[in-house]
Amino acid sequence: MLSVISYPLFAVSVVLALVLSISLFPVGWFEFRPEWLGLMVFYWTFRAPAQFGVLLAWCFGLLLDILESTALGVNAVAMALIAFLVLAIHQRLRMYPLPQQCMVVFLILGTSQMLVHFLKQLLGADSPGFAYLWPALTSAIAWPFVSALLDNLNRKLG
């Protein structure tokens, strides 16, 4: 938990995550793109559990639904799930060393991806096998950098 958080930074990071999730990406690497918005929800609920929570995460997920043109509510409920799981374990999570935190990022984002693909298949999408877990893995790899960067910025701006 940070003693100070910067709300402008929060807004900018979420907008940036949305932009990154639609901006053009090298074609062959497409399925490895980190789940930017999930990572942001994870970070902000983890760092400021009193301010950010399930409802806000749900709203962001709804925006991602619009951008992805999935049925409204699919990504929303997945983001809410991320926020909920982080809220449930954030006190323990704080004690973990960095590699272990990355593991938790992988597990939680992977769970939410599973939920997304479960719902999509209920709605009639193809099954992509386990390939949908790649974003969770790349997000876990990105976590140390993202969290360090945002922590620094929070301390400077907050």
Binding site: M1, V15, L18, V19, L20, S21, I22, S23, L24, F25, V27, F30, E31, R33, P49, A50, Q51, G53, V54, L55, W58, L62, L63, L64, I66, L67, E68, S69, T70, A71, L72, G73, V74, A76, V77, A80, L81, A83, F84, L87, A88, Q91, L119, L123, A125, D126, P128, A131, Y132
Partner: protein, 299 residues
């Protein structure tokens, strides 16, 4: 969020109402939304409004490309520009000559069709648009283009690039639209073989450089290298645009149909400028004089 935030006690372990309760709440709301959206299609207008609100995100997503174009423009020498200008002029001349011939043919064709009382007219009105984003979901092949309802675009319109058919508009908002590519696994195009007019259906299979031609009997006259053009059946795609070229035919004895792969003509994941085709007007309006009223609005 917490009512006693002003107190001096640091509220480390307090999170307001139980998050579990909120989770159940949003799960219920989401379930209702998903049902309303996916099963009953009630939320199209909500989606369109929110999507219009997200226009800045689309714009920002495209900003790096605008910037790199701009920087590139800064460092082009006069000589290069002149050379390019010369080249473009030559090309324009060639194309103009071709279009003259084409206009005459189109006029003749329209005349013949009129004589036959056929309602179809050659020539379509198009709007040029730029790709500003791709779908974040790697398992769906969709693009976002920078023309929307304010340019008169409606869902169902065909989208082309310079080489061939790319897909169709499936959703519109005020300033952007979403295009489903022919390679998406939920997409199908009615096509015909140019060489002999055989009609088939071309399905996307989720690979961006491969399409499946389905239900082709063993004895059908189809060869590698055959060009497949949209047949216009179904009324969604205009007739005669190249879609794909047959690349591979596998006959398996015992199977009722041959497996045929085709390579899309359009550069599905490279093109940045696309054409959105407007449905055809009444035949009487398609007089050859105004045969090419392209509204070119390149940014």
């Amino acid at each position: 969020m917490i009512p006693w935030e002003g107190l001096a006690i640091k509220t480390i372990f307090v999170q307001g109402p139980v998050p579990g309760f909120r989770l159940i709440l949003v799960v219920l709301i989401s379930a209702a939304l998903i049902a309303a959206d996916a099963r009953f299609d009630k939320l199209t207008s909500v989606r369109s409004i929110l999507s219009t609100g997200l226009a800045p995100v689309y714009w920002l997503g495209n900003a790096p490309y605008r910037f790199s174009d701009w920087v590139e423009g800064l460092f082009v020498s006069r000589g290069d520009l002149e050379e390019q200008n010369e080249e473009l002029k030559t090309r324009l001349l060639i194309l103009e000559r071709r279009s003259l011939k084409y206009a005459a043919l189109a006029a003749e064709n329209n005349e013949l069709r009129r004589l036959l009382n056929s309602s179809e007219a050659v020539d379509d009105r198009v709007v040029i648009s730029e790709v500003v984003g791709v779908s974040p979901d790697p398992f769906s092949h969709e693009l976002i283009i920078n023309k929307g309802e304010s340019n008169g675009i409606q869902s169902g319109q065909a989208v082309l690039d310079a080489e061939g058919l790319m897909g169709q508009v499936i959703q519109t908002s005020q300033f952007t639209s979403r295009v489903l590519l022919v390679s998406d696994s939920s997409h199908a195009v009615p096509v015909e073989v140019v060489r002999n007019g055989l009609r088939y259906v071309l399905l996307g299979n989720g690979e961006s450089n491969e399409l499946d031609l389905v239900h082709v009997p063993d004895t059908a006259d189809i060869r590698e290298g055959d060009m497949l053009v949209s047949s216009g059946l179904g009324g969604r795609f205009p007739r005669g645009y190249p879609v794909a070229e047959v690349s591979d035919i596998t006959k398996e004895s015992g199977e009722p149909f041959v497996t045929i792969k085709a390579t899309p003509e359009a550069r599905l994941n490279q093109s940045r400028l696309v054409l959105v085709v407007f449905p055809q007007q009444e035949p009487s309006e398609a007089i050859p004089d105004e045969a090419i009223p392209e509204t070119e609005e390149v940014d």
